[in-house]
């Protein structure tokens, strides 16, 4: 039942460029012509329905495979990223010219209407090329964020809107790991909100101060991302460096074990497991802001875990990783048991090892008060 979308002006422009290219005799697919054109400014009309093709937004410069941001689009990285089946992720942020995001100490920054967060999931291929899988867009409209999954074609030349998500077989080629082919799942639009929800409203997860507070090389030496955002004029209200929070990098073994473990739990679990999140009815809050050991899962009995308990009594049993439901569920593949519920088909070996080491290091036991 295709709804007759009113094509936005942007698609018309893309078509026009494509048409011009063809007329001029370039033997290029329309997208290359369009995205390769300097004339296509990145962005979108906040009132227009989603574009059918990713190229219509103009977020990439040149060949898509290069994953290079267009002028006016900034790359960014997180201190500790979410595990996504060993996919590599390339993140861009775009704000309409002349607009700014407002800094927030704990939550995602308050972005202006017209902002786009662009996250592309890909795997390295054995031939050195990239296997582009999907690009997830978060578009800030007048009434809030809109989540749109786009699925790349085999050639990695164009991605098409996939509101209902998709499943495809991927054989990841990860250095040092021998991974079997598996069913990669592109989440559907509703599943996006399964993680991106704060008090029932759609919210970004990554662009928070504590996730962005790290250095990144924009081409002329590494600088702090928050400083760069401020200098680029897209962030207001940034406090002094000493007042900015920072999550630990869970992959950095030189940092404190406790901070690494909490960082891992926050970025992998804390978007749902927080008082305002979709998993709040569990009473388990896995964020760096949680101070109550019971809500962090220490000696906490499960509420509605069902078979997810694995026959174990406590979410985290200090000193006893193999008696801890949290670690059990990180290692399971049954969709009714595994955690996170969405976006993980493979076991994250390094994450499991980290949480195991952390729980083993915790003192105390679970006794009646």
């Amino acid at each position: 039942m295709p709804v007759p979308w009113i094509r936005p002006l942007r698609s018309a422009l893309v078509s026009a460029f494509a048409g011009a290219c063809i007329l001029l005799g370039f033997a290029l697919p329309a997208w290359q012509c369009a995205t390769g054109s300097k004339s296509l400014q990145p962005g979108f009309d906040p009132d227009a329905p989603p574009a059918q093709y990713l190229s219509e937004y103009g977020f990439f410069a040149g060949e898509a495979m290069a994953l290079a941001p267009a002028a006016g689009v900034l790359p960014y990285e997180l201190v500790s990223p979410l595990f996504s089946d060993y996919a590599e992720k390339t993140r861009f942020v775009y704000l309409p010219p002349g607009t700014q995001a407002a800094y927030h100490q704990q939550e995602a920054f308050d972005f202006p209407v017209g902002t786009a967060l662009v996250k592309t999931f890909w795997y390295p291929r054995e031939d050195g090329q990239k296997h582009l899988v999907e690009t997830r867009l978060l578009l800030k409209r007048k009434d809030g964020w809109d989540a749109l999954p786009y699925r790349w074609n085999e050639a990695g030349t164009e991605a098409e809107l996939a509101l209902a998500g998709a499943r495809l077989t991927v054989k990841p080629s990860v250095p040092g790991m021998d991974l079997e082919a598996f069913d990669y799942v592109i989440p559907n639009k509703n599943q996006c909100k399964g993680c991106h929800s704060v008090s029932g409203k759609f919210a970004p997860i990554g662009p928070k101060a504590r996730n962005l507070n790290r250095r990144l090389d924009y081409g002329s030496g590494a600088v702090n991302q928050l400083d760069y955002w401020q200098q680029a004029g897209i962030l207001s209200g940034l406090p002094e460096p000493s007042a900015r929070p920072a999550l630990a990098d869970y992959a950095d073994a030189s940092q404190q074990l406790n901070e690494r473990a909490i960082a891992y739990l926050e970025i992998n679990c804390g978007h749902c497991h927080r008082p305002e999140g979709p998993a709040n009815t569990s009473g388990l809050h896995l964020t760096s802001l949680e101070n109550d050991p019971a809500h962090l899962g220490f000696c906490k009995s499960p509420v509605a875990a069902g078979k997810g308990s694995g026959g174990l009594r406590y979410d985290i049993h200090p000193g006893q990783p193999d008696s801890s439901i949290l670690l059990y569920r990180m290692q399971q593949q049954d969709p009714g048991v595994r955690m996170p519920e969405l976006g993980r088909q493979l076991l994250h070996k390094e994450g499991v090892a980290l949480i195991r080491e952390w729980i083993a290091s915790l003192p105390g036991d679970c006794l009646m008060p």
């Binding site: 509703n190 509605a304 008060p369």
Partner: protein, 404 residues
Amino acid sequence: MLSPACSSRLLPLLAVFFFTATFFSCTNTANEGPIAAEGFTEELLMERLISAVPGQVIMLGEGEFRFTRSLSLDGIPGVTLAGAGADKTILSFTGQTDGAEGLLITADSFTVRDLAVLDAAGDAIKVKDGKAVTIQRVRVAWSGGPKAANGAYGLYPVGCKGVLIEDCEVSDASDAGIYVGQSENIVVRNNLVHHNVAGIEIENSFFAEVYGNTCTENTGGILVFDLPELPIKNGHHVQIFKNEVHNNNFPNFAPEGNMVGIVPAGTGVLVMATRDVDVYDNKISNHQSFSAAVVSYLINQKPYSDPAYDPFPDRISLRNNIIERQPGAGPDSTRALGVLLATLFKGDTPEILVDGIVPPDRALTICIQDNPGTRIATLDAANGYAGLHLDPSPYACTVDPATP
């Protein structure tokens, strides 16, 4: 021809019923015929749910509809998902590889009716934070029968305001067939629940009426629980009346660690913590462990730290029930509570149990009267059962009717 979408005219009635007025007219509702099972792909229904307009009725025809991923509805109010009958329209999740529920609903004024959800990887139908949820004539089962590997809950509204569950049949859930948690204004009526660990469970909820249900062949028939360390707790005002609660002697198959794992096979009605619970006019028969019990959360001996949580049952009324014991059979020796009962009562457990654990600073009101031919045991569980007695006189009282 009347548009099927116009059955959404019924929604205002429900909305008024639940005092959560959300009004939808029939305008802007596309008139689409039922989706046919033939040639069906799961993406089709998923796309319909994503692009639904408020008040839309999505109809499914007869036949089997197969899914490998969760179905979900988010944020669009007033949507109805309707089949052609609980035995005719089958949503099968056999072999589901993605998503922890069959249906996950995060939207207001949602109705699901006249269909079956089979073999979900986790919970069959979960509704989170919805207002005015209606589930009617829905069947939920796992085709392998009762197993620990089945989903925890069949019908699972949580954090909802306004819940109506009626004329449904739920079996094989590894926790509760019908579970309403952290919700308020709840009606659960005229359902058949069997071969679940718990038939019906009302947990951390306010203002619930559970009546006209048949609960049979579960481990426990009806549970009213309140648990600590949850955002919504200290549940109150739960009425359990005119239910048929029979033969709930099925071996407990809940995975250990779950609260419901403590329930011994042969449990009729179990009230734990919670206040203002009124259990009346029920028929409760043939339970091998006990017919009805009123206990505090402390009896579990599970650690918790939640100063705002009240672990004690209070203002409980258990009256005018017809209670018959299972002749001959002893309590379930696979659960600590069953072993305890066997030890304390040597095979002749009284029909009604009260744990007798009381707070140091106040008296609890627990009234148990007019349940003909029953005995009441007070266990004195906090003192090593030293003060165990069968004196009914502490319970000869009445609680003001718990009217929502």
